[in-house]
Symmetry: C2
């Protein structure tokens, strides 16, 4: 944790940064030196939790990747192959999946039996290297992850030139794409006062059917489990640009806490993306281990914590982003009771209990954790 956080964001658009990467290599070759790139280290030792800003960040350590080095030549070649393919994507204004990118860049090197890549497991880390090297998200290089999650609410937005009124999208909603950068998605008329991110699509559907977003002037979004990159980036943008609070509704179990913490701080694996993905202000609205008492839930909805749950909960107690008193109290309570709860457990109090009682009270009485 000794690494200093990187302060500045590299200037220029992504295409320029990719061109600069290539031109740098050409300059090194012309100068007769061993062409090499400096790649920020994506190691635990180079990850830092910034307490003040409440995000996980990458430090300043870098590693060298050189062409004339037996252990690095293959990766050097791959780095430029991926960079070149991304530059082509940007020039063509097309987007593609990381699986596609693997196929696009895979070929047998002329005169040899060597393939540029054998498996996608080889090309994925190169994408991550490139992201940190030119300080851009993969989405900014026109690479997308999975399309998952849906959204409705008191907001109009523009998606790829089409104006979409999220108040009039029926029971299905707008399918959240993976790439939600400014050039694709722009926010227009917004009357919402908050964003509610729910873990489960079934809960989202219940809240949409009850028109929770209408009654409470909200934007309602789900990520179908762990929030995918598109959903996280969109929440980040809405919080910043629309100045709205973000409430997160997940199961009362270590996995739910983890989903919340990734939305809030980012993940350790992909620390470099936190600056543009994390929402440190995100508010956890449960479920909480104190809810059974608060909301008079029957004990027959309890699920016993298994060994993995207990182990995970104990690990989380030590995370710096859960060191606040309220969080410690929450986790100790879970461990003490030895049980977890699903959001659906609220349905035992009535099908619309969640939209008519639980959430309004949690938000009104500010019963959330940060």
């Amino acid at each position: 944790m000794s690494a200093r956080p990187r302060k500045r964001r590299k200037k220029g658009d992504v295409a320029s940064k990719l061109r600069e990467l290539g031109e740098g290599a050409v300059r090194q070759i012309r100068a007769g030196s061993n062409p090499a790139v400096q790649i920020p280290a994506r190691t635990l030792a180079n990850v830092k939790y910034d307490r003040k800003r409440s995000i996980i960040e990458l430090g300043d350590q870098t590693q060298t990747r050189a062409l004339f080095n037996v252990g690095q030549a293959r990766k050097y070649m791959q780095t430029f192959l991926v960079a070149s393919a991304c530059k082509d994507l940007l020039d063509a204004a097309k987007t593609t999946s990381i699986r596609d990118l693997y196929y696009i860049t895979k070929h047998t090197i002329g005169g040899t039996k060597q393939n540029t890549f054998e498996e996608q497991e080889e090309s994925d880390p190169i994408i991550e290297d490139l992201e940190v090297t030119i300080d851009s998200l993969r989405e900014e290089m026109n690479l997308f992850a999975s399309n998952r999650g849906a959204m409705v609410g008191d907001l109009t937005l523009v998606d790829a030139g089409d104006t979409i009124d999220l108040r009039r999208l029926g029971s299905g909603g707008w399918s959240v794409p993976s790439i939600v950068e400014e050039n694709v998605i722009q926010f227009k008329r917004c009357n919402a006062k908050m964003i509610l991110l729910v873990e489960k699509d079934a809960v989202w559907r219940r809240l949409n059917e009850d028109k929770f977003w209408k009654k409470h002037k909200a934007i309602l979004i789900h990520g179908n489990g762990m929030a995918p990159r598109g959903v996280r980036r969109l929440c980040h943008r809405m919080v910043k640009e629309l100045k709205l609070p973000l409430y997160v509704l997940v199961d009362n179990d270590p996995w739910g806490f983890y989903i919340y913490s990734v939305v809030k701080q980012g993940s350790i694996n992909l620390a470099y993306e936190s600056v543009r993905m994390a929402v440190p202000e995100a508010r956890f609205v449960g479920l909480s281990s104190f809810d059974p008492k608060r909301f008079d839930l029957s004990s027959n909805v309890f699920i016993r914590l298994d060994e993995t749950d207990q182990k995970r909960a104990k690990q989380m107690l030590a995370y710096p982003w859960f060191e606040r008193k309220a969080w410690q109290r929450e986790m100790h309570k879970m461990l003490k009771e030895g049980v977890k709860l699903e959001i659906e457990a609220l349905s035992s109090k009535g099908i619309s209990f969640i939209s008519e009682e639980y959430l309004p009270r949690k938000i009104r009485e500010r019963q959330y954790l940060v």
Copy 2:
């Protein structure tokens, strides 16, 4: 396979059928007999493949579930508990997930320590029993499965009262809900000439970005892997009501074939739903084991079939719905070559090869299997 297929569909709306179920029990009790329901058997022996209609169907065998029977009493109680909860849902015009339903119907029976249900694994089969007993889909009882998949295309529809123009939904599209029955979704203006169902969201995104649906007057839908119930039911309805052909684009592997076959014939497990889910006319547009030659694909995109793949492919050879000559030829070719192919492999020929070359040619030259 000796069972006769059931010919008629039970008359009346779903709420009436549920009420009739309850009234039947009351009549039996008043008559002093042992209250019992006849439940169509969901067993392999009671499943039949109707070659003429090309769907998997449930036969006429039933089993008795009686109240005064030590082995059946608990399930009898559960059947009526679930039926009653569904009736409440319909009366309240609300929908819920099967997970929710489990919590809604779970309680401790007064004066005992017995819970009505211990796990969702107990309530799910009861839902299936109820579906076959009153001959209705769970969606018609206002129960939903997962929300998955997205759609764009040359079609306007109404979803829960909102008119949605699928030509103007940007890069994200409309998120396909799980319940797509006539009372929720109605089709309006349609200029599409075909429906294209793709297995993968990444491929869907590519085709949407290339505006394939616009150029080829199509409806473009994906199910994010195995098509979920909502996507299948919607395809079934569009084929019937809009009189459009359905093309299915999946990977060239046994799993891709299986996805196609479930869309086409229904699954053995849930044979009773085929009548309202299956699309026997569905056309398989690949990928095919003959495509590498047809489209000049490099062998470095091949993936070797593993043992599980080979076993699955051999099983499928024996399925009656794959007995047509063209399918046998297709599967034998896969086994002979010993390799499979992903849709993304087409990207090795260029990022828009799939939308500009592959699909137009496949459809134009009628290179599909049924």
